[in-house]
Subunit: 315 residues, 2 copies
Amino acid sequence: MSRQRPDVGDLVERARGGEPRAVARLVSMVEDASPQLREVMTALAPYAGRAHVVGLTGPPGVGKSTSTNALVGALRARDLRVGVLAVDPSSPFSGGALLGDRIRMSDHALDPGVYIRSMASRGHLGGLAWSTPQAIRVLDAAGCDVVLVETVGVGQSEVEVAGLADTTVVLLAPGAGDGVQAAKAGILEIGDVYVVNKADREGAEQVRRELRTMVGLTARADDWKPPVVLTVAASGQGVDDLVEALQGHRSWLGESGRLAQRRARRARDEVEAIAVAALRSRWEGVGGHADLDRLASGVAAGELDPYTAADRLIG
Amino acid sequence: MSRQRPDVGDLVERARGGEPRAVARLVSMVEDASPQLREVMTALAPYAGRAHVVGLTGPPGVGKSTSTNALVGALRARDLRVGVLAVDPSSPFSGGALLGDRIRMSDHALDPGVYIRSMASRGHLGGLAWSTPQAIRVLDAAGCDVVLVETVGVGQSEVEVAGLADTTVVLLAPGAGDGVQAAKAGILEIGDVYVVNKADREGAEQVRRELRTMVGLTARADDWKPPVVLTVAASGQGVDDLVEALQGHRSWLGESGRLAQRRARRARDEVEAIAVAALRSRWEGVGGHADLDRLASGVAAGELDPYTAADRLIG
């Protein structure tokens, strides 16, 4: 098979049949913004929407990778197929995620019921806001029951993860990311489930108390009460409780009608991101580029205000 | 004067004359996405482009606020007018920056040569990518010689700051944000000047050595060699060296022609952000909203792929 022009229908068929290489190839096409992506998404559309998409976020040092790893194990023990996307929104320049933390995931590297994939934006237009929903759709259509989306590194917007997931898990740990810092990051407003990891360490009980208080004080637009789960991901302690909390939230989403709402909002964000990327590519592409550069020079020189420039760009 | 419809010409005139309340009012109009903003930007355009825009970024705990405060003092001692924008991209939900750290800035609250302003996105379309360049333009046109842009909180994209500034300062400190974490965040690729703050603490020399090595290994698109400055911002030690490093970078930018390049790129980003916000507002506004929602529902239901939906949205 040529590396240049894969047969999309065949690839999608094989991915749906659970062939890991076909799944990997489709995710690469997303990452590389392949020109055939539209064809891929059209082919996948009818098969997506079944997976439970779970986002994991939290400050550095709380054990996100270890927790993801432990979750994969617990979900596999329940015979669920699992996809893992580790996204790194903070490395647009280096063109690739640092994979050190990923090595631990090799616990599951040979399990055919688990797809693990790191993803960077590779600097293409729209970045991860554009590519992550499409990669999720690939794993979803390939038959994953749960797709875990973990953000790697610091500096990313935790809020973006919340926008992509059915259920957002916010991880904290004693001594890493204290209460005030967490509040600053706004992550106490986005969790559907909170985890205090490294719960065998001193201070875990205090983090839980603080979390419960702060979660109680935060007004939510819905009537879900986010649980706080204690785990020691490295030993597996509490991970079953976490799985139950995730499944509890998934059930609530379905029963309350919130799942459809969240997914419609997600689809809206995705359609907008694709539309914006298409327009940017038009503006910055051959022909358009000269226009934008000329307008920008006018603004930089103070000859033109940016609104008028934007009008001319759109018009 | 009515709070509803200020006389823009009068406001701009008073802001240019250095009246703090007029400057504050104009920044508020940016923050609130006032409908008169276009008029404001048109009036300001000819007067902007003189200030040296300096971005400050780094992991939590390195002393960003203290360093900003110390820098303001050192710049004021040189009789320069200073504007400070503390932006908080991580709090779209709460509708306002947490201002605890800002209290220290009250050292300069009564100095008429200093404007200090915290800014949150208040959830409007385009967020801080849209509003920050406009707030910078206000301070610039009001006669600030230096505009310091400091990001508050964790979770923001440090990279965005680099896109807004002439000179980006990356702060580290011993014990806060170790080398590997910093590399992950990609912040070792964006600094024009590096600072090891809290240099009186153990480990400062090691952070400097690591920084020098990593900065040396990082390929830059230009031939600027980022200096590494040791400071103790709380006592003022090393802050004059930092000011000299900033001024050295500013001179190099001018002489090498990079200043014009950076500003043209910045203007390009700004024009794009305004154009995108205008389109989003059209899509999500009365009339457009129904279209986008309908398309999104189709995508969520698997009846439509997101590319086709995006085409219909644009078309």
